[in-house]
Symmetry: D3
Subunit: 262 residues, 6 copies
């Protein structure tokens, strides 16, 4: 049994709050700081199913990547999906903690982890030049690789069977930029080009961004947002379990990718 | 035992939501719409003391004038006073409903009630000209009255022993404008003057507004915000008790004026 | 041989400029109004490949859905992809005309065409409530259909082998809202729910929108932006060929979906 | 007889203009810089009564705390109270000089003077953290004192018989923050709490600020704006009389608190 | 001897305040409404010389076209040119009244007067389409006239020896738009073109506006701002003298064009 | 024959891009960077006549002071004057390069050149204090000179027969501020006064600025925008011809001042 405050302190080392993107809403979002924790569910999103699972497991804490509250709210009633979730977790003494863009950005976080899985060299932080966040990563493969082979590598690493690409399949790429999650705006693509990358990887892209990559003969890999970020949960469980031996950390088994590839 | 939805429907007749001031946050703020209500506490503010009282009474509903959530919030934890309150009421199945500027404005609301207590004639709605709200009232005393006598009348009506005034004590006033609560900005004073009033009554005034009233030889009566609005609770209890005979409506006995006149 | 002005007049009937979304840049974008047209290429995007194809074909006009100039520009040089395209088309006397959100919206346009292909009944215009555009459509299938069957129908209709969905595959849907192209923001989903639809169809969705559809047990079909809009080109060629018998209208054969499903 | 310019130079030492709050309008507001001064009236506000008194006294200068012109003006006619005042003072060769937030803030100014009257130790400047002004003060009483006793002390020091408080009367307070005049917004209260104060003193508070102090078990003393600032006039007369022996400095005897405690 | 209020009432008929351009500051700007007027100076600008002239003449009123106060002011001291003027006029009991864009626009005003001097037919109000003001005029010469001849006509009508033009000297013009004073922005030129005019007349033009007129083969006549507006003073004196027989209305003889053609 | 890139590199030394005013649009505006240049036309504005002249001369480059594109554009068609120009130059393989506020500001630029022609001493950069640009100049004549004599000197130097002035003709001036082109706003006049100048020279002034100069007894010289900037072309031709001996640099002989002094 561990006091929630201890877990929060540790999470703030894993994903320092000051590394969040401006405007993000992270950290301790719902609950009481002195709660005693024996079971904690890890997930991407605090869905109704994840809450139900947590109640059934008797968990006192959910650590999510996406914040349960993002845009500030003016009421907490069962008249909204989000209000219903908050009522449920408070009623069942479940605390909510979210590590979002700070977990993307940190050295124990998602993008550094993916850089390691790709075995990248000379890894630097990556973002558009105007942004203070710099939560993505840019680095080099040891050897050039074709775009299609890099995409196939990611299918394995991220367990993402819905990966798509823009650009020539046989384009040789070596310097690779990426940001986990929904960094699909064209400005990220352009930042990757400006930084000398051969390829950019993220999720939630629109047509015109893919077209620009294609026309500029640049490599673009379009991941599933869900898979590209959920890859961190296992690693997070390792960190937390090693630190808090008396707490059971459980990756949600009810959560699934909301986008269903036919 | 009455379903919360029924009480909300009735409150929305007493204080129609569409009569609220733009930007106000009113109505059903915390809880579950299908809650069964047997006891309901009425108060001005949802203070810690009012919540404690409600818990002890076993109430399932608090109807307050001031909204528990006004500025939208990004977290609900015991690290803030407001978060602590929300956690407590949800934990104890207490629902929160607030009727604020709509209760000021409506025909069963505060300002109409005060107009009746003052026995005003030709009562019209009152507000600055630019505002769509028009929640205050303006009307005429049957006979002219000195400013000090009007102030003394309000001491009795509002049970407010901290009333102050600006302007000549023996000024004769007959046409009177007022807005319950903190409508102390100078623009309200000016609207009252423009409307031909002799006197304006509200709360939460600053020095420069009182000075302007004094220099313009206009009557200003500075009430306690607490007393000027809490006067409605008895009347509200009457309405609610008459409508819902099986529910006990209790005016908070723990609440008191936070401003203490020495 | 037909004067460009005549073709523009006809296109403005097919896709009236006043039906465009506010802020869109449409119509006659590059060239000289009195050009004589014998060959015209139809495409989704004015890519380098489409321009090359048009030059080789000896076309004097490209009619595209996506405008060649969208954000206003401050220079036209070969230092940018877009500048290079503009220099090329002007150099080769190729005029550019784009019908974008007005073609989405009009009665001869994309969304009405899709409504017909789906054999929808009671078809109304659809958009978020605050928007003046109302370029999408909402209507009813003759019989309820499962979400997966609707998705399969769209695979055929749009020749889109990359369609994905969010929500239960066997959910019965009958009332269907959709907007061709990249109307993937959550506000469109919410508008569809508010309008009583069972399902919303568009392209360029992000994870959190799909998740919201899934959690609200709503049907969401995620099309390819390319396929959902390019479906209009054949129909457009029919209209134009019927009207201008001496002009050859050619659907670009070089254009392809920039997003490549592995 | 002293040239106005000399008095302005001296006032700018007592209350350096650069210490004013951003947006304040201070200094030499009406008149001619080379006026010869033999009599000068000191006041809080340039009221009609103060002007009448100055005319009768034959004064050539009024030094006020509150600026005669605050919001910029577009006309100077007798159709407005302020215009009438300006016409009168110009007609009677009376110059106007105001030292406002710079007099609050300076080392010879109001807040430092009050700190001295309270015999505070370790006095620092005080304001909200975001503000560049820092015109208030925070410091420590030599011994803890109950809130009610501190309030009574202020009644004597400020000659203010309308002081009120929020919070427990017997709360022990030692570290005290304050800003002279109308710094009654909740953000000042919060700044005082963040700085570790036990109590905050100012004027022009609204109900919700007092309630927040009460609920957070913090001490709040609500002074009269008039008394809290007028306390400086005697001291100012001392400074000026010592510096300009040939000029008569007269504290207005016609000015009175516009707020009248019944 | 006439009360100022009567003159203001009459001026408000000649130049109705509601015809002013949004944001303009017009009307009774300095003084006392009940002043008795025997002499009144008329001028374009309230210059130091005009004030000196008015003092010497013993005038109690200056009626100017350009407002003495345009941008709101925060002080009235001899440290600024404008402050010095205001101090002087108040000291000498001179009232200031200005009729600016309302005098440009009204039926007894500048532009209608010029239309008459040019003997224009079918005179309509003129301004950019987005503006609510519509204070200029557009109308037709009875016969076409060359641009140079029209310019020469204006030299006589406006007594303006510094008139310049842009466009072909021998261009035939018949439909003419104009706005008295400094309406030299390119948007006015474009409005004139859109309204089918052949020529636009105003003052205070910049190079790029003249260039655009020249390149579009449009006629532009660049008057002196001073002459184009001062033409109204004689007419204004006629109106006022006819109405107020006991008041002497004097056109300033000290005022001159600040721009000196070498 | 010289590659355009070389000429651009040299122009960027003559008029460094980083010296442009914020928001200006300068440099390589239309064309292909690898164009081979044998003839180049120099001008103030890219007018239809200058383009025609360039086509007839067989020039491949126009270097203008005023940018052909200033406000960003959304179409390039013959329906606008500017579009027609762009179509023409692209069709005829004419490249456009503009050096605008950077040429005003640079050490080889317009204002430094004028400073030399006036033989000024202690020349410093000049602009309003808030501006980062500082492209004008301020300096001292060796001997004081009357305003009218300075104006006559400029008539000769700038070959400008339309120079006008504001202020006393016989005012002695020695310290002189100026900005080439349309820096006629009053703020520049005030900056010149604040910097201790006796006189300010620019173009495109309005009446109220001249009046302010006149009333403040300051010297103002109102040049022709055209003449004040076109003076640089000869010098620019010298620089360019010396650097690129195989290219013919021709000052446009078709361009003329669009403002025609009668």
């Amino acid at each position: 049994m561990i006091n929630l405050e201890k877990i929060i302190e540790f999470m703030n080392i894993i994903a320092p709050p000051e590394q969040k993107e401006e405007g993000d809403n992270i950290g301790f979002l719902v609950g009481r700081i002195n709660s005693e924790i024996t079971k904690c569910v890890l997930c991407l999103d605090v869905t109704l199913e994840v809450i139900q699972e947590s109640i059934e497991l008797g968990a006192q804490l959910i650590i999510s990547h996406h914040p349960l509250i993002y845009k500030p709210i003016s009421s907490i009633t069962d008249q909204t999906l989000q209000g219903k979730k908050i009522l449920d977790v408070i009623k069942h003494n479940i605390n909510i903690f979210s590590a979002h863009t700070n977990l993307d950005a940190s050295e124990q976080g998602i993008n550094d982890y993916i850089a390691g899985l790709l075995d990248l060299q000379n890894v630097q932080r990556f973002d558009t030049q105007d942004s203070a966040w710099q939560g993505g990563r840019i680095g080099e493969m040891k050897e050039p690789i074709t775009l299609i082979n890099l995409a196939n590598k990611l299918i394995t690493i991220l367990q993402d069977n819905s990966i798509r690409l823009a650009g020539k399949r046989d384009k040789q790429v070596q310097k690779i930029a990426f940001i986990s999650g929904g960094a699909g705006k064209t400005e990220y693509l352009r930042a990757a080009i400006d930084m000398g990358a051969d390829c950019y990887i993220s999720a939630d892209f629109a047509h015109h961004t893919a077209l620009e990559a294609y026309e500029k003969d640049f490599g673009l890999i379009l991941c599933s947002h869900y898979c590209m970020e959920r890859v961190i949960l296992k690693r997070l469980r390792q960190f937390l379990s090693a630190q808090f031996k008396t707490v059971q950390f459980i990756i949600s088994s009810k959560e699934k990718n909301p986008i269903d590839t036919i």
